[in-house]
Amino acid sequence: MWNFIFRSVAQRLILLVIVSFMAHSFIHLAPGEPSEVDPMNPRMKPEDIAKIRAAFHLDDPLHVQYAYWIRDLASGELKSFKDSQPVLPKIWDRFLNSLPLFILATILVWTLAFPTGIYGAVHRGGLYDRSTVFFSYALISIPSFFLSYLVILGVVEWLGVPVISLKTFGMDQADPAYKIMDRVWHLVIPSVMSALAGIAVLSRYVRSQMLEVLSQDYVRTARAKGLEEDTVVYRHALGNALLPFVTMFGFLIPGLIGASVIFEQIFAWPGLGRLGYEAILARDFPVTMTLIFFTAVLTLLGTFISDVLYAVVDPRIRLE
């Protein structure tokens, strides 16, 4: 077991180096530069631009810039181009803002996708199965912002609840109960919207995985020895079907953060995705690079945890 853990940590450290290389080169290979953000500004004289470029090491070759980036990142002194604030606390603050959205969305995805997919697979070809498959395709086929706009209009129109941003402005004097309900409404709608696609995708995976397991020999054996159908499905098949999903946990993180760019823009949620969008608009290289790197690190952590969990629940992995 320790051998396994050691090996996967080592693998991830190597990946981490590759990932940091890539995050750095992605941004710097594109031709746009921070000093080009505002070329028409008359107050930006050539010597100012030269000063800015020197301050951010923009004239050095890329491998030197990479070294500076890693050094500043490690010592926590990396500053944003835009407002000279340290990057790491900035990202961490926004991450904490986004965290409730991510957690609620993940909970929604995992609690709704499994029952939907399993029931569909057990009753393959039935009305329920066909309609959930159709609906899950429908859900991933709508442009997310189109659907979100419709939902916002509907909620505001019929329920009379404001849902944009973290909380309603000017509620400081309100009753605590109102305040909590307000926060809940503001949290639930964006989480549900960003969970929809995940539910649709994951429930189809669960369904096909379950179908696969149900056609295995040991399920036939279990049926042949006269077990009840429920026991066969829920005791013998279910566990084996669910096993691979332990490893999917880590790979859901980049999807969540990537999609949060759109959802946080729609719902004016001051989180990680919005920070990224603002940084890209301002050509704020340190924030953009570090954000991409941060996401990759989170993903590596997530995949590491799921790999270890997988090795705990499935002894075959450890022996390989």
């Binding site: 190597i14 080169s25 290979l29 395709y137 179908l211 036939r220 980049p254 995705g273 990224g276 996401t295």
Partner: protein, 365 residues
């Protein structure tokens, strides 16, 4: 289960090895039978065929032989609902075909129908080109990783890598050049296999938030429809690589590949003529779904202001431009939204139908 007898080859021989030889179903006929039994997929396929015709006629009628002009601005006629007729103030040359705005007009009095009609081709070509790029990268990398599998880097490949790096240094991409040289030398020094090399790179790519990466690249590069196609293509090949690698790993052990090797065929011919066609089934499925998600990605980029730039109308940018007028002109918002929904759904359903029809395990049930 009724598929138990097809799993056992002996049983099956006894089953139809009798006197009556039934006409064997060809794989293509079997594929058609399974695909046609899926009503949703057939409906999706019909939608896609209509769409293809619309894309071509739209290209012709809005750009070459202009019957529907998407670019005419008619300010007096702005925000007209669908099926309204042109007003008297519009000069003869600017009137829409038949004097009718089939789908209404937008905030500049442009004909929404003409814009949608032009947008079919652009939206579809974004999807197809992006998927084309991602498939070629995916199949090549997956094929190499699966075929050469455990072989180590030999001197030939390392020399090639160093040459590539020097070329990059020559065009002043120093950082990339040094990294390429360092990577190839390190893989050679540590005796890393080709498979490990490619798959670790794929794993690293999978760690990045794809949409965010696309957004960053599109925003930093000069705005153009080709940039969007290329960037979407270059950030979505990882799934294909993994599929193709898995298929190749199992195909490599099969007799027909050994036979081809024994015949002395060149490796490129074994890979591309004999193995790739056999590995394509899952690729088809992911390609169909890939086109759908490329169209959605384009509309998401449009929403954030980095979509296909103005001279081209795409469904994505019509939709995102219209969100400011949801109350004044809901049709400009709903028409592209519903259109994208129907088309992407059609692609997804066809993909699902293909998956069922091409999967030997799910067949003949």
């Amino acid at each position: 289960m009724n598929n138990s007898d097809t799993k056992n080859p002996n049983l099956q021989l006894g089953h139809d090895g009798g006197v009556v030889l039934e006409k064997q179903e060809t794989p293509w006929e079997e594929f058609l039978r399974v695909f046609q039994s899926d009503k949703q997929a057939v409906a999706g396929f019909a939608v896609l065929m209509v769409l293809l015709v619309m894309a071509l006629t739209g290209k012709v009628l809005t750009e070459w032989w202009i019957i529907f002009d998407p670019e005419v601005v008619r300010l007096p006629d702005k925000f007209l609902p669908p099926f309204s007729f042109v007003t008297e103030e519009i000069p003869k040359s600017d009137r829409p075909f038949g004097g009718l705005y089939l789908l209404g007009t937008d905030e500049l009095g442009r004909d929404v129908f003409a814009r949608m009609f032009q947008g079919v081709f652009v939206s579809l070509s974004v999807g197809f080109v992006a998927v084309g790029i991602s498939l070629s990268v995916g199949i090549t990398l997956g094929g190499i990783a699966g075929y050469y599998g455990q072989e180590k880097f030999d001197l030939k490949i390392v020399l090639f890598g160093i040459l590539l790096g020097l070329l990059l240094l020559y065009v002043k991409w120093n950082f990339l050049g040094y990294s390429v040289i360092a990577m190839f030398l390190a893989t050679w020094a540590f005796r890393i296999s080709v498979d490990t090399f490619i798959m670790r790179f794929t794993d690293a790519m999978l760690c990045f938030p794809t949409f965010f990466l696309i957004l960053a690249a599109v925003a930093l590069l000069p705005p153009s429809i080709y940039t969007i196609m290329i960037i979407i293509g270059l950030t979505t090949w990882m799934g294909t690589t993994r599929f193709v690698r898995a298929e190749f790993l199992s195909l490599r052990e099969q007799d027909f590949v050994t036979a081809a090797k024994a015949l002395g065929l060149p490796e490129s011919r074994i890979i591309f003529r004999h193995m790739v066609p056999n590995a394509l089934a899952p690729v088809f499925v992911s390609a169909t779904i890939g086109v759908a998600s490329a169209i959605l990605t384009e509309s998401g980029l449009s929403f954030l202001g980095f979509g296909v730039p103005p001279p081209f109308a795409t469904w994505g940018n019509i939709l995102s431009d219209a969100r400011g007028f949801i109350f004044d002109a809901p049709w400009v918002f709903f028409i592209p939204g519903v259109a994208i929904f129907v088309v992407v759904l059609a692609f997804n359903l066809v993909g699902e139908g293909l998956r069922e029809a091409l999967n030997p395990k799910l067949r003949s049930r």
